[in-house]
């Protein structure tokens, strides 16, 4: 609770009284921003902190256990390929979770869409882009179906998507056939995971990303300060730009090193999966943060009744988040198929969904709705992928892999629930 409640104001108050919004002006100091951040974390709003800690701690742990393999450029490229389908699926789940809903069928939907693509490529021999469009359209249609059942008929999303989780697996099985696999050999599709950006192009794009990010941030700071609006201090803006620049440069540098196992071959550059994830991250962050649609998603997740009274079409928002979820599931399915080179009846089943939900929640998206960002999927997806990748390097048995990943999801969900209680207690 803020201390300002106790100061009564009345119409008769003499001139020279505080005019309000002090924080909007005095936030211009670094110390105040740091204090405000510490307050927020104490109040239960952990943001990206757990995921970043997770990446650092797990990174150090696996580096200590497997120093000769874990932090090599080859494994980093492999990690990126491993993380991409999880991250993309989790991005879609962030939208669903923002409404406090869940899509348990997202994993198998990615399987259905991948199967549609693979069948079209293998049996009908259509060009790659037709098959990709068909897979994405399949995702959109599935999302419309799920969303209508939840938003229009009003069945709890848990039940709808649990039923569809079974139903779509049957669909994939029928499409592919018992025990069969459909190979994905199209060079363009496979390129997503086994081809790399030319090193020079990688650097050009990396520098471009940094330059555009810096320009946008600095311009926003300039306009906000000129108009006397709330803004972060310049130091914070610069630190933010510095961190992003450092991450982009390091990743590009590591992936630009020749990582070919054999001498005489050159294998270097950023795998195509990374620019794909970055483009999706930028686009979806833009949608969620800068458009009225995104604002309405947050509003419905925070207080559906308030949103309805504000004239927002809550049903339409509900249906659209399921469409977004299933569309990204389709893209995730395509990336996963490219990585594995085939689609099987079990594609998208197993722990696919668990990994993606875990990624979103570990990244900081709340299961209770209203809080979450697209970047959560990236950070959380990296944590999940590091666990899977590291345990693979350690040669852990499959059973341990399941137990550990399940445990991490449980841990993230507990942090989320506790943060929420703490937020309620401290008024944040």
């Amino acid at each position: 609770m803020s201390s300002t409640i106790s100061a009564p104001t009345s119409a008769q108050e003499p001139g020279g009284a505080p005019s309000g919004f002090e924080a909007d002006r005095t936030a211009d100091s670094l110390g105040a921003t740091v204090r405000a951040y510490v307050d927020r974390v104490r109040g239960g709003d952990l943001g990206a902190l757990p995921a970043i800690l997770g990446i650092v701690v797990l990174g150090l742990l696996f580096f200590a256990l497997r120093p000769e393999t874990f932090l090599t450029p080859r494994n980093m490229a492999n990690l990126a390929d491993q993380a991409a389908p999880i991250i993309i699926l989790a991005m879609g789940l962030v939208f669903v979770l923002l409404l406090g809903e869940i899509d348990l069928s997202a994993g198998v939907v990615s399987g259905v869409c991948a199967a549609v693509m693979a069948k079209l490529l293998a049996d009908a021999g259509v060009p790659w882009y037709v098959s990709v469009v068909a897979a994405i359209v399949t995702g959109v249609v599935i999302g419309l179906f799920t969303g209508s059942l939840v938003g229009m008929i009003g069945i709890p999303s848990f039940v709808v998507t649990l039923a569809l989780f079974l139903g779509w697996q049957g669909f994939t099985l029928r499409l592919i056939g018992e025990g069969g696999t459909v190979p994905v050999r199209d060079p363009v599709i496979s390129a997503i995971s086994d081809r790399n950006l030319p090193v020079v192009l990688g650097w050009v794009l990396a520098l471009l990303v940094i330059a555009v990010y810096a320009a946008l941030q600095l311009n926003r700071f300039r306009v906000q300060r000129a108009k006397g609006l709330a803004h972060s201090p310049l130091a914070v803006v610069l630190v933010r730009i510095g961190v992003i620049a450092a991450v982009v440069v390091v990743v590009t540098a590591v992936l630009s090193v020749d990582r070919a196992p054999a001498v005489g071959v050159v294998l270097a550059g950023i795998p195509y999966a990374i620019p794909l994830v970055v483009v999706l991250l930028l686009f979806l962050t833009f949608v969620l943060g800068r458009t009225s649609f995104g604002r309405h998603v947050y509003a419905v997740g925070g207080n559906a009744e308030a949103a309805r009274r504000a004239g927002i079409n809550v049903t339409r928002i509900k249906v659209s988040v399921f469409v977004i979820g299933s569309t990204l599931a389709a893209i995730s399915g395509i990336v996963a198929a490219a990585r594995l080179g085939s689609v099987a009846p079990g594609s998208g089943g197993g722990n696919t969904l668990l990994y993606a939900v875990g990624a979103a929640v570990i990244g900081g998206t709340s299961l209770f709705g209203g809080r979450g960002r697209v970047r959560d999927a990236v950070l959380g997806g990296l944590v999940v992928a590091i666990i899977a990748n590291g345990l693979g390097l350690l040669g852990t048995e499959a059973y341990l892999n399941f137990i550990i990943t399940g445990g991490v999801l449980l841990l993230a969900a507990s942090v989320d629930a506790l943060a929420r209680r703490r937020a309620a207690a401290t008024g944040h």
């Binding site: 300002t4 104001t9 009345s10 119409a11 309000g20 800068r290 458009t291 009225s292 207080n303 809080r371």
Partner: protein
């Protein structure tokens, strides 16, 4: 109180209800309700639980369709069939449960559902400026930042934001449903001051309250509902507190209120 408490009757009321009836199935909730709400005045709407206050404001808001009777807005007959119609006329309702999204900040809540846009981009700068201007105009001095999340605000501050949100929309009529019900002394003070300033800035205000101290402090007129009938709709200078309580509990007081025969009929 600075506004005149007695207005000449020739000023066009911002909102006038004429013979409004409303039933839910077999139960008639509003009987031939007449009411006038004037610009620049606070009209206190009082009545016991179940007297029909909520139904009345929901009819004004377009949530319930009235069965018969007339709604006049600034002298023109209007039909309000949904919240959007009401908003288009300039009617804003501040509900008791406030209807703010906790996970959004003050500016985002004030513009919720009616965001300003630059193409497809949200125009955050202009929204933040407009929100701040509105809050300043209402002399709201208790917010630390307009970019604060609503979840971090106190009850009085939330009420303030909800009211400021209503004012942002060039609203002509603001209906406040028990704005001080859950507040402490100091916060009630803030909100009552704000209600007064709303009227002083030319808005017609309907103020629903159970608290007679608040009513007599802030209202210019008082409208008392008794079992779905309008017992009295008079300038507050013509009544005193015991009379208003009598109107609420018995439907009449002295010369005011529902005719004795009708009261008897209602009470059967």
């Amino acid at each position: 109180m600075s506004a005149p408490t007695d207005r000449p009757e020739d000023v066009t009321p911002t909102l006038e209800l004429r013979g409004v009836n409303k039933s839910f199935g077999a139960i008639q909730v509003l009987h031939d309700v007449h009411m006038k709400v004037y610009p620049g005045q606070v009209t206190a709407l009082v009545g016991d639980n179940g007297a029909g206050k909520s139904t009345l404001i929901k009819s004004i808001a377009g949530i319930h369709a009235i069965d018969s009777g007339e709604l006049l807005f600034e002298g023109r007959p209007v039909t309000v069939t949904g919240p959007r119609d009401a908003a288009a006329l300039g009617i804003e309702i501040v509900y008791q449960d406030l209807a703010l999204a906790d996970n959004l900040d003050v500016v985002q809540n004030m513009f919720l559902g009616r965001e300003r846009k630059n193409g497809i981009l949200l125009d955050e700068l202009s929204m933040e400026q407009a929100a701040r201007d509105t809050l300043s105009k209402l002399s709201v001095r208790t917010l630390k930042s307009v970019r604060q999340l609503v979840s971090s605000l106190s009850g009085g501050q939330r009420q303030t934001v909800a009211i400021a949100k209503a004012v942002l929309w060039e609203s002509k009529l603001v209906v406040l449903d028990e704005p001080t019900a859950a507040l402490g002394v100091a916060q009630t003070r803030q909100v009552l001051d704000l209600v007064r300033r709303l009227a002083d800035t030319g808005h017609a205000v309907v103020f629903i309250s159970h608290n007679m101290v608040d009513v007599f402090e802030v209202a210019d007129r008082v409208a008392a509902l008794y079992l779905g009938r309008m017992a009295a709709d008079v300038p507050i200078s013509q009544v005193d507190r015991p009379q208003v309580i009598e109107l609420i509990t018995a439907g009449r007081s002295g010369d005011l209120g529902i005719a004795p025969a009708e009261v008897a009929a209602v009470e059967v």
